[in-house]
Amino acid sequence: MVANDDINLAVGPGEIHALLGENGAGKSTLMNVLYGLLQPDAGEILVDGQPIKIRSPRDAINAGIGMVHQHFMLVPVFTVTENVMLGAERVRGGIAGFLDRRRARKEIAEVSERYGLPVDPDAVIEDLPVGIQQRVEIIKALTREVNLLILDEPTAVLTPQETDDLLEVMCSLKAAGKSIVFITHKLGEVKAVADRITVVRRGRTVGTASPDASRDELAALMVGRSVKLTVDKAPAEPGESVLQISDLVVDDDRGCRVVDGVDLTVRAGEVLGIAGVQGNGQTELVEAIMGLRPVLTGEVSLAGQRIDGWSPKKVLRAGVGYIPEDRSVDGIVKEFTVAENLVLDIYDRPPFAAGWALKPEAIAASARERIAQFDVRTPSADAPVGTLSGGNQQKVIVAREMSRPLKLLIAAQPTRGVDVGSIEFIHNRVVHERDIGTAVLLVSSELDEVIGLADQIAVMYRGRILRIVDPDTPREEIGLLMAGITPDSFGDSNEDPASGNGAPAGNDGRAGADGNSAASEEEA
């Protein structure tokens, strides 16, 4: 995979340079190259005009480059001081190498003071909120005297208030003469702090902009219009409601509230698309519907029957097809053959099994049929599915889920990491499923895909459905909604109506958003 293809980037001293792009545009890959975690195939890196080779993080640190990773590189059971010291320990006692914690604490205090990053040096990382952990990461980089600090999606995990604090810190760093590369896909933040903006799309730099550019302009650059995938489809003929979700609340693995009062209805014969930046609760929403994650409050009904609290098997049996978003983790068993993967969730039902016995002939026959029908390119039905390309693996999942009568199809990121030919095929199958009267819930962080396939688009942001809009809505407007900016609150980038903390104000805001969505549903 070529994640980065001919990217040019120049960062000046004392500059905040924003690297703007959608998920999967190749921003993080670029920065990992810069930090020595990945090696470039071509091109060079210059620091202060000198070309240097960065083969490991150590080289990067020596070159004055620091990085705050999207997934923090902190040892959870260590204290703040220990994490900051690690790799650059001050020691006493000669060969014994006793840690000089006092000096480390002093250093931390100094850095905290200078850049406005208060933190308790003796707190254990895993007890700290994410925002403070990030602060520790920044302190860690600063105590190593970096000149260039890379912040990889730093606000993705922060609350609005934490985000504000971070932006302030960035400004004070800039004032101290540090350069910052700020990777993000959030327009408001970029406009607030960046000096220069480079936009990346599909592994290429597509342009630079100044922060004075309008949001529309930036959104257009970021989302792009070049590869517009069109799907031929007739207008939807929605029937009765099949999936009904009301006031659903779900936590993620760490116990953070990530789905916070979602109401949704999907009707037979329509595609409801959920647009949103990855990590706004879509994953957990879908897992809760499937019975893979406990529903804390709220109801999920399928064709009038409550299904929350059911086991995944029962939900699947009730006529739900599920294309999980992370194909290689949740969708397929790589070591299994194509034929086996094609019956992964129906292996124990006739005709594939009789009693306790599998029916290999039936499985093989059905596999041959599906392989032909869904155009799976495989040497044989007995090839391990791990040997197929991503697109063909995905087709195996699609074939499996769409070859039984369904009431509801849930397709999460159905074309992620899939070649163009397979994308088109999968899109057509989804539309076909809709046309035979199945309710389809589509979750995708590819806006193009949602716009192309959906009959209605629900924009999800911080665990809530911000608004439900028509697919004809200008894509820039949807893009802004995905960034949490409703058209009526332009200019106020961080304080969106649905801040995710369940504060009373937030609830009011949601009521408003719901009102809006109801209104737009009327229009549709």
Partner: protein, 426 residues
Amino acid sequence: MSTMAVEDVAVAPIDQGFWTRDRKIGAGLLLVGVVGAIVFGLLATPQPARFTLSETAGGASAEIGGVFGAVLFGLVAAAAGAGLLAGLGERWFGWLLGLGVVGFVLSFLCWQISAAPDGQNFMPMVNIVRGTFLLALPLIFGALAGVLCERSGVVNVAIEGQLLMGAFAGALIGTMTGSIWAGLVAAAMGGAFISLLLAVFTIRYLVDQVVMGIVLNLLAIGLTGFLYERLMQTDLQAYNQAPHFGNWEIPLLSKIPVIGPALFRGTLFLYLALILVVVIQIALFRTRWGLRTRSVGEHPTAADTVGVRVLGLRYRNVLLGGVVAGIGGASYTLVLYSFTKNMIGGKGFIALAALIFGRWSPTGALLAALFFGFADQLGAYLGAINSVIPSEFLAMLPYLATILAVAGLVGKVRAPAADGKPYIKG
């Protein structure tokens, strides 16, 4: 220190209601204490139970009526449980749990000693303490070897093999050179040899660490058994009569009652074990090496991003662990016995249990090893006084305790996060 405002980030409050873990344990302890008081009290005889401070029945002693003692200490255990149940566990958990366990054990002992045959109603504390330490010795070395490996992220189930190899190499080279110190060095090398195989195959060839450990144990058993039969059995004098370390009495300290004769008239290995516990404890938590070792065992990627050499450190620590375990093996063959086939007999796995029960810390491992050693010694003592309690059940105690600990019934046991996972860069 902290002046920041605590952000209202959603941190899931773990609401367990009334039945917190402390309270559950307290309730259990209360029940056990009451049952102990009743059952042991009924079974005990009015004969006094004497705890003598010497190796014989004579000398100073503490003594308590059998029934009275059994009931009293049972109630002490129950009271400790009640305290936990009442919610004192937040501040005093460790002390109360300790008190409860000690109370229960004493209650049990009062019954046993008072019910012993006439003339044997005493427990020589010096013997018990000394035996506890002696039996715990290989466990301490083994568990420390485990600490060194597992803290840096390599699961070590080959402790048994390392101990065995150390014992064998110590006996062989010690005899052949006639030098006890050469034997000690050879024992360390023997343990390191098994460690080297473990390190190369798990770190370089990425073989599953548990698989490799199990296979290495069998290899060590086979190898030492084979060479024992071929060499040692044919010519004991030439290959299996290593010089032994004598007891080194430490002036002054050895005069302390009970502790003195038990602890400060020991061999080199006893002192070495205790010193190693302290040294490794300090090194692990206070030095650069320790910080890096722990980071490599918890989050190797993070360590890598700040320039720590993950694999090099793992190699080094696994080898070091082998050295420690090898010396532990020598505590068999360079002190009391000559080498025999499979002479470690599962102690390596109890050491593993001590490591886990001691939560991967040197001092924890020491305490766990002493606890297991005490159980072992108690078994021997009860056997000597013809107790109705089968020694086999006492021997099971370490293993049962470990299962309970791992299942989360007695506190949370958490292994280093990256323990057992090979580190692959990129």
